[in-house]
Amino acid sequence: MKKNRFHLTDLPSAVIIFLVVFVYFSVSANGFFSGYNFASILTQSVIPCLLVLGVAIVIMSAGLDLSVGNVLTLSGVTCGLMLKADMPVALAMLVGVLTGMTCGFLNGVMVAKMKLPPFIATLAMLNVASGLANTLSRKKPVYWTRENFPILDKIGTGTVLGIPVFAVFGVLVMAIVIFIFYRTRLRTNVYTLGGNEEVLHLSGVSVAKWKIIVFTLSGTMAGIGGVLMDARVTCADPTVGTGLEFAAVVGAVIGGNLQNTGKGNLFGAILGALTLATIRNGLSIMHMNNYWQMVLTGAILVVGMVIRELSVRIEHRRKLKEAEVAA
């Protein structure tokens, strides 16, 4: 059998968008192309990257998770309330992560056991998590006595060899998730879930169990993100996660992860999140106001989708030609 040749069209559209905006900003945005700015883009995108990993895996398994932004907020608030009550740091962080995990688990149960469409289940969770976070925090940022938690300050604002500690944490978590994904059954089962659920069922694997695992993983990532966000901004703001689900879902999709395709890759998803962070960074360096940023982000996404569709068509035509030659 012929080994699959690599084609340019296999690349997710994030690669093309990223290259284009990167070159454009390097040329026309003064101060974009500098080590300092790159470092700030990377630091800004640590938490979106965590979320995008969870969401990408959910999308690959033919699901969808719209709740990650507000679950992140809720986790941050529960962790912040524990800190406010002067609980041990480790316990507070654990509670934060567990909150996210529970939300994810409930999403999974709604999808796998109650057979709700993922869009609806996670939309409902979005409302519930936002309602809970605002009720618990009384709609105000939760502050704690910073002096009591030097370790948390170290994680949030300290550096190791010039690298922010919280970024090291984030990258570590990402590395673990990527390792687990590519080295265990998770990947095969997720691909099969996305490609054809029935096949997974027929091969004796519990579909419900794996769906719950996938959603729980996504919730856990949101939980970790919430705790890291607390450490970084030194308070738990009940609006901090609003809109992050947008970045996560769009990042995963332009990174080449689509529902019902039976494939996908995590590095593309991370690049997708980086692309969005780069666009935001570049536009604000060019002093575009928020309104222009909104319009342009929407437009760039549509253009990215056009590129993907074109590349799929070119690929299709090429395959047809190859088949003709073979015949």
């Binding site: 409302n127 009720t135 309104y291 909104m294 319009v295 549509v302 799929v312």
Partner: protein, 315 residues
């Protein structure tokens, strides 16, 4: 006989749920079940019902529109600009705005169908883009003091009934006839329940979906104008929750997110249920954050319930 009763209960489950909810709220709050409060609920429900109908026409074809709120923001601002700066007969801007809504819907539909993008992603993006344009046009200024000759449509009564309720009845009837009695309507249901089969049987499914987006966004733009007329103000951030609210109304009213299921009746009752519950919670002084939570739980219960009803009916 027993089967008949079960069938009748299941068919009118939504209505029974609404009555039960109203009775429970009335039990705890004597002020709830009064003519004046019911009028308030119906007035609010009329606009939410129009939004629900707009979302429903799109959801029927197996699509979704998260940008309805932004369409509303953009069109109300255009409307305000038109009526503030010129003196034209009040019907003209109304018609132009409805058309511009249809135009925005056409664009959304074209992007989704011709580029093969999942609708929730397209409308995520257009949601950003349309609202961004609205921000660009007026920034954070609030337009207020609209001329009364344009506002009557959202505030006045006709034959003792608010005009918005008349409009809900008229537009609801038009859409009802469109869905049940015309080829286009049947094709919309068919496209939603099985797009592939519809395409193989010779239906231009892309065209049907684009039409659905156009109808939906035209109704949404029209509703936006009613909102602005009632509030006597418009701003670029108007209707940030409208998309999710309209989806909730459709789901509670028995639409399936996969398409092909749902109708005008269910959607209108869904809108009344949501408004009645929100109003009841306001009476009980439940905070708006907790109301969000309740809405989320309500969506899950409603969709789960609708699925179970479907299962029983199929047996």
């Amino acid at each position: 006989m027993k089967e008949r009763i079960v069938d009748a209960v299941l068919k009118n489950a939504l209505l029974l749920l609404l009555i039960a909810g109203v009775l429970i709220f009335a039990l705890f709050n004597p002020g709830y079940l009064t003519v004046s409060n019911m009028t308030v609920i119906m007035k609010q429900a009329s606009l939410l019902g129009l939004l629900g109908i707009a979302q429903m026409t799109i959801m029927l074809t197996g699509n979704i529109d998260l940008s309805i709120g932004s369409t509303i923001a953009l069109s109300t601002i255009l409307w305000c600009g038109m009526i503030k700066n010129t003196d034209i007969p009040s019907a003209v801007p109304m018609i132009l705005i409805t058309l511009s809504g249809a135009g925005l819907g056409c664009l959304t539909g074209l992007i989704t169908t011709k580029l093969n993008i999942p609708p929730f992603i397209t409308t995520f993006a257009t949601n950003y883009a349309y609202r961004g344009i609205a921000w660009l046009l007026v920034g954070s200024t609030i337009i207020y003091n609209l001329p009364p000759s344009f506002r009557f449509i959202g505030t006045d009564d006709f034959l003792g009934v608010p005009i918005t309720i008349w409009l809900l009845v008229i537009i609801g009837a038009i859409i009802l006839v469109l869905l049940k009695k015309t080829t286009l309507g049947r094709r919309m249901y068919f496209t939603g329940s099985n797009r592939k089969a519809a395409r193989y049987s010779g239906i231009h499914t892309d065209r049907i979906i684009i039409t659905a987006y156009m109808i939906g966004n035209a109704i949404a733009a029209f509703t936006g104008v009613l909102y602005a007329a009632r509030l006597n103000a418009a701003e670029a951030s108007i209707g940030a929750n409208f998309s999710l609210d309209s989806i909730a109304v459709c789901l509670i009213g028995g639409c399936a997110i996969t398409g092909g299921k749902g109708g005008v009746w269910g959607t209108v009752i869904g809108a009344i249920i949501v408004t009645a519950i929100k109003n009841g919670m306001n009476y009980a002084q439940v905070s708006s954050e907790l109301q969000t939570l309740v809405l989320g739980v309500l969506i899950v219960i409603a969709v789960f319930f609708n699925q179970q009803v479907d299962k029983i009916q199929r047996k």
